[in-house]
């Protein structure tokens, strides 16, 4: 690149920027760089407070949070206590829904060793891959994320050399890079489903963000750290054919006097191959702005 010979007179301060050494990037006054740095530091502080995926805790730990708080919430937690045994927290970094989904799903497979479910999932994953390709995504942009998820899925099935224990699953889910790669895999899957069925999702998205479907996917689904909403949950549930129960813990009270806790089941519409009432095996606790995992009490 040729530099101009006659530069403007107010250019003298630029001499360093004008003739950069091949490797001498002037990052020193790179403002956005500083911002990113600071953001990473904040994330690191948060990361020390709570891992990507926490330990299983009794519901009393949840009640303890609200000890001096809203009586409605405490009442609701009592109601939850009748049906649910434990909670497992996730880090509040905008990826909590996908991370909760990841851990719940893989833990379910690890515990049930449901090979049919794994095969069904693999078929859906392949379908998502084809969808991304037909939408014009370049293979190398998503294939690493797909491969890493399939590897985790394979490894929770026991009896292979690569099989992993529950402890190892927890470690991997806490490993920032593995965990983030799987979250990113789900983001690709979600984006593909929304764009594939854009006429269906368009009205929801208009109501939520007042943008086009494509813009929504680019700005609110694909970037890491973007929080999930109903649209994301419907899309991932449909794309992967996995039912999800969301239990809502908020301050809303019902007029009837007694306190009850609402939940909503997201039942996949597309995969009607398994007919009949599907009882979701993934249960998440939603508190405004955050998702954690819930463990139902097992019938004794």
């Amino acid at each position: 690149m040729t530099n101009p010979e006659g530069r403007g007179r107010d250019d003298e301060a630029d001499s360093s920027a004008e003739a950069p050494a091949p490797d001498g990037f002037e990052w020193s006054n790179y403002a956005d760089e500083d911002i990113m740095h600071q953001k990473n530091e904040i994330n690191a502080v948060e990361a020390e407070k709570i891992p990507c995926v926490g330990d299983k805790e009794p519901l009393s730990a949840l009640a303890a949070e609200y000890q001096s708080g809203s009586p409605i919430l405490l009442e609701k937690i009592k109601v939850l206590d009748e049906q649910y045994a434990a909670i497992r927290r996730t880090r509040g970094d905008g990826n909590c829904f996908f991370r909760s989904f990841m851990f719940s799903y893989l833990e379910h497979i690890l515990e049930t060793q449901d090979k049919a479910e794994v095969d069904r999932m693999k078929a859906n994953v392949e379908e998502c891959r084809r969808t991304l390709q037909s939408l014009g995504y370049v293979d190398f942009t998503f294939e690493d994320f797909f491969a890493l998820f399939l590897e985790q899925l394979e490894s929770v099935l026991q009896g292979n050399e690569t099989s992993i224990s529950h402890d190892e699953l927890l470690l991997r889910s806490r490993d920032q890079s593995i965990s983030d790669y799987v979250v990113m895999f789900f983001r690709f899957v979600t984006s593909a489903e929304i764009r594939k069925r854009s006429e269906f999702f368009e009205p929801f998205i208009m109501g939520l963000a007042n943008t086009t479907v494509e813009q929504f996917c680019k700005s609110s689904v694909e970037p890491m750290g973007e929080e999930s909403d109903h649209v994301h949950i419907i899309a991932i549930s449909d794309a992967l054919g996995v039912a999800i129960r969301i239990v809502y813990l908020d301050r809303s009270s019902c007029d009837k006097g007694g306190v009850s806790v609402n939940h909503h089941d997201f039942i996949p519409t597309v995969s009607s191959s398994r007919s009949g009432a599907v009882e979701p095996f993934i249960t998440l606790l939603y508190r405004p702005g955050h998702y954690d995992m819930l463990y139902p009490k097992r019938p004794s």
Binding site: T2, P4, P20, D23, Y30, E33, F140, T141, D144, P223
Partner: protein
């Protein structure tokens, strides 16, 4: 580190394979460091940057592609969203709207699009942004094309 290297290698192969497919972008990897790239992009037509060739420097973080590449203009450019001294670029996909679905090549395309469609309301170059915001399109265009001639075109003779 390993995954970013593997991904960048795939991008490198793709760039080699697609060489010349997009005549406006010439993306080159540093001979000895796959985390350093440069690009030459052509100023879009019917803009004050037309006829200019602009050099971009890419510094790629180890967490790529979960984290965006750092990109800046090495060639001086008068544009509301490019810092006049450092070449820093204000573009959402290089910050919070980044996702691994982007590639170095598509980032270059996004930067070319930004050159053609400046966002004067989030300026890094306030002089440039103010010209556009005050409606002085002619002033903006003449300043921008002057710098294109001075900095982004080969010297005459």
């Amino acid at each position: 580190m390993q995954t970013s290297r593997a991904r960048l290698f795939k991008e490198y192969k793709e760039v080699q394979r697609e060489k010349g497919a997009d005549p406006d972008i010439q993306l080159v990897c540093d001979d000895s460091n796959i985390f350093k790239w440069t690009a030459l992009i052509k100023g879009p037509s019917e803009t004050p940057f037309e006829g200019g060739v602009f050099q971009l420097a890419f510094a790629i973080p180890e967490q790529y592609p979960l984290q965006p590449p750092q990109v800046r203009f090495l060639t001086k450019i008068f544009h509301p969203n490019v810092h006049f001294k450092t070449g820093e670029i204000c573009l959402d996909i290089l910050k919070n709207a980044w996702s691994p679905a982007w590639t170095l090549q598509s980032v270059c395309r996004a930067i070319i699009a930004l050159m053609a469609h400046p966002e004067p309301d989030s300026p890094l170059n306030c002089d440039s942004g103010n010209l556009l915001r005050s409606g002085d399109v002619r002033g903006y265009q003449s300043m921008a094309s002057m710098y294109t001639r001075l900095a982004a075109m080969p010297k005459k003779g």
